[in-house]
């Protein structure tokens, strides 16, 4: 197997991966940086994020406000030391990317404009029309082209991390256009592969979000933290799951049920007026809005469509001019995919899986417990998002922790890596190679990847959806074990070496099974309701037992071993998440 050597290899070229690559190149032009991605960087799912990126900028705002909003939004599961530094670094990172050309929307005086977002006391969401993720990603990608030190390996699918004696040695990747495996030998690896929304059937996430990086880290012994916390975005289009940004509510959009009633007022988020009003009604946190939908659905008050139950997002009162200026993409998406012009009619929406709060366990510097292995972005869990992420914290997270992980990786490399015997190394590299070859050589397989994948997503939705119970979760855990067994009976239908997407989908399914197990088992053991993890059998938050992160550690039997670690509390004691009323 050919070896490609670098100082740092980054897996994933979305917002976090690109930010890390640039940070490395700027810190030390002599560093050899390999940026490896299974898709071209501009296809990464950062591109689909719409609403904005949060960072304190207004005179009437403060880091304390951002801190408190985030910690409360996360239902006190956030590590407060991490949130503290996050809030401080946020405006710097957003300013830095402005210097790099990001086309932030502006006030009349030329300063960056900010908008209201869910769960936030003061406007602090910087935005670029309603395509913030797109503009951030393209600004980062185009800026990265300045640095010859960044060598890109586009359409290389990473299959395994190679770690020897508790230290990272590199990754094995499949070059998609030739079908050849390559060993990327590096002193440090940064995983920035994004979340795993595709393990659910209805998601805003694109095809790439299969949790490969999470699974790779998990399999070499890094725990996956807080996997049970999955965010349902309250407003996705029925059928496709296409995201309708929270900004549409930030600009004043309302949610009504089949009676035209703004139902959120019945869920401790009211009163409905005055509107818009921060942290109230439609600007409440995402978990509460999605849960309200579930309850409305139980009561038969949602609207039936061919693509399932929906509620209505009404933007008509905003007027055509404002919609065209602030929400042009929302208008276009709605007109194209559901044939509704928001200027004339309300948009049908429903909660869809959007973000994975959990992920690779890292500290505030992006480091994992394996030397030289770092992670940043949605695939990582620091944790700043806790049990529920506030909208517009994630794009900022990519920049802040992408940069921090890079700095840690650079320090680690400078510190000198220990030598490892080639024998031990090659043993692991060959094991990775065999995993792929086994797939190729399999004959008489009687399992079909599509059917298995559908069963996986179906059991996740049924057992680990917005509301969970012991029975539903046990069923899902058992089903996932069954799927894991049946996986070894998959036979590839496509045996070509050139751009074999049957192969990559089967590899992705393995990642999905691993991530789903970690999620379902973690959820099973957390017998409380907190943030986006809601249980019908344990309806209250239990700070005595569960003011802790779940840590799911891989075991060869399939089901992870679950451990706990206390949440870092510095100055905000768990309180009540108060929304609605009149906050100011």
């Amino acid at each position: 197997m050919e070896t490609i050597t670098s100082d740092v290899a980054i897996v994933g070229a979305g917002g976090a991966g690109l930010r890390a690559a640039i940070a490395l190149a700027e810190s030390n032009p002599g560093l050899r940086i390999a940026l490896i991605s299974k898709v071209y960087p501009m296809r990464s799912h950062t591109v689909a994020a719409e609403g904005g990126a949060a960072g304190v900028i207004k005179d009437n705002d403060s880091f304390d406000n951002h801190f408190n909003d985030t910690v409360a939004g996360g239902d006190w599961l956030c590590d407060q030391d991490a949130v503290e530094l996050f809030t401080h670094e946020a405006p710097k990172e957003l300013t830095r990317i402005e210097h790099w050309g990001c086309p932030w929307s502006r006030q009349a005086d030329g300063h960056v404009a900010v908008r209201s977002f869910g769960g936030m006391k003061v406007e602090r969401t910087w935005y670029a029309a309603d395509k913030t993720g797109f503009h951030l990603l393209h600004t980062l990608f185009q800026t990265s082209l300045k640095y010859p030190a960044i060598e890109r390996y586009d359409e290389y699918f990473c299959t395994d991390i190679v770690a020897v004696n508790g230290a990272c040695q590199g990754v094995v990747a499949l070059e998609m256009r030739t079908g050849q495996l390559r060993f990327f030998r590096a002193k440090a690896i940064i995983i920035a592969t994004g979340g795993a929304g595709r393990i659910f059937p209805f998601t805003t996430n694109g095809a790439v979000k299969t949790g490969d990086g999470m699974a790779m880290a998990y399999r070499v012994g890094v725990p996956l933290k807080d996997m049970e916390f999955v965010q349902y975005h309250p407003t996705g289009l029925p059928g496709t799951g296409i995201l309708i940004t929270e900004a549409s509510r930030g600009e004043g959009g309302i949610l009504v049920n089949k009676d035209g009633y703004r139902y959120l007022q019945d869920y401790d988020l009211g009163p409905p007026d005055p509107w818009p009003r921060k942290k109230a009604m439609e600007l409440g946190p995402r978990d509460r809005l999605s849960q309200a939908f579930w309850h409305e659905q139980q009561q038969g008050r949602t609207i039936k469509t061919v693509d399932g139950e929906v509620v209505h997002l009404d933007l008509r009162h905003l007027g055509e001019a404002k919609i065209n200026e602030r929400l042009p993409m929302v208008r276009e998406l709605s007109r194209s995919y559901v044939r509704v012009d928001p200027v004339d009619a309300p948009i049908p929406v429903r909660p869809v899986v959007h973000y994975t709060m959990g992920g690779i366990d890292t500290d505030t510097n992006g480091a994992t417990r394996i030397g030289g292995l770092f992670a940043a972005g949605e695939c990582a869990c620091v944790s700043i998002n806790g049990a529920n992420r506030l909208g517009s914290n994630s794009l900022t997270e990519l920049l802040v922790f992408g940069a921090r992980a890079a700095r840690s990786a650079a320090d680690y490399v400078a510190g000198g890596a220990s030598a490892v015997s080639d024998g031990l190394l090659m043993e692991q590299v060959e094991a990775a190679e065999n995993r792929v070859l086994t797939l190729f050589r399999k004959t008489n397989g009687n399992e079909d990847i599509v059917g298995l994948r559908r069963e996986l997503t179906a059991t996740m939705e049924a057992g680990a959806g917005i509301y969970r119970s012991e029975d539903s979760l046990r069923e899902s855990c058992e089903k996932l074990q069954e799927i894991r067994q049946r996986y070894s009976s998959i036979e590839l239908r496509d045996k070509s070496n050139v751009f074999n997407t049957d192969l990559t989908e089967v590899l992705e399914l393995k990642s999905m099974i691993d991530v789903a197990s970690a999620l379902a088992v973690s959820a099973y053991h957390r017998t409380e309701s907190r943030g986006s993890h809601q249980r019908l059998d344990y309806t209250e938050r239990d700070d005595k037992k569960f003011l802790r992160h779940s840590l799911a550690t891989y075991s060869a039997q399939g089901e992870p071993h679950i451990d706990y670690r206390d949440v870092v509390i510095t100055r905000s004691q768990p309180g009540e998440r108060a929304y609605g009323g009149n906050q100011d």
């Binding site: 256009r177 030739t178 079908g179 070509s496 070496n497 050139v498």
Partner: protein, 129 residues
């Protein structure tokens, strides 16, 4: 089992037949030929004028013959097509912004037609039509 990227052959001389928009483009480009030949004809006319009334008379006869009129008509149609498409794309090449907003393309195109109309009127008046 290796890569073998396939490069689809390009039809060097007939690529433009594959889509209506390419045909329209070629017609626009070909208009240059007719506008050019018409210009040549006008230059020949000047030449004949300098060669005396008889030469000029025979020039006029040629221009007014069926073939001459047909050619002039074709040239006129092509010139018109060229002008319409040329005026039509000026907002793209010269986007104007006034008072913080983009000037609607229709205004820019309309301004061109207005100038053309005024110029044509003046010329027609001057030649005594």
């Amino acid at each position: 089992m290796t890569r073998r990227p396939y490069i689809r052959p390009v039809r060097r001389y007939s690529w433009w037949l594959s889509q209506p928009r390419y045909v329209r483009y070629m017609l626009r480009e070909v208009s240059a030929v007719f506008i050019g030949s018409y210009t040549l004809m006008l230059i020949v006319g000047l030449l004949r004028l300098s060669q005396g009334p008889a030469a000029y008379e025979s020039f006029l006869n040629a221009v007014q013959s069926t073939a001459g009129v047909t050619l002039s008509l074709i040239s006129f149609i092509f010139a018109l097509y060229h002008s319409v498409t040329w005026f039509g794309v000026t907002p793209k090449a010269m986007p104007l912004r006034m008072g913080g907003k983009a000037v609607p393309p229709a205004i820019i195109v309309g301004a061109h037609w207005l100038v053309w109309a005024i110029a044509s009127l003046l010329i027609l008046l001057w030649v005594g039509v």
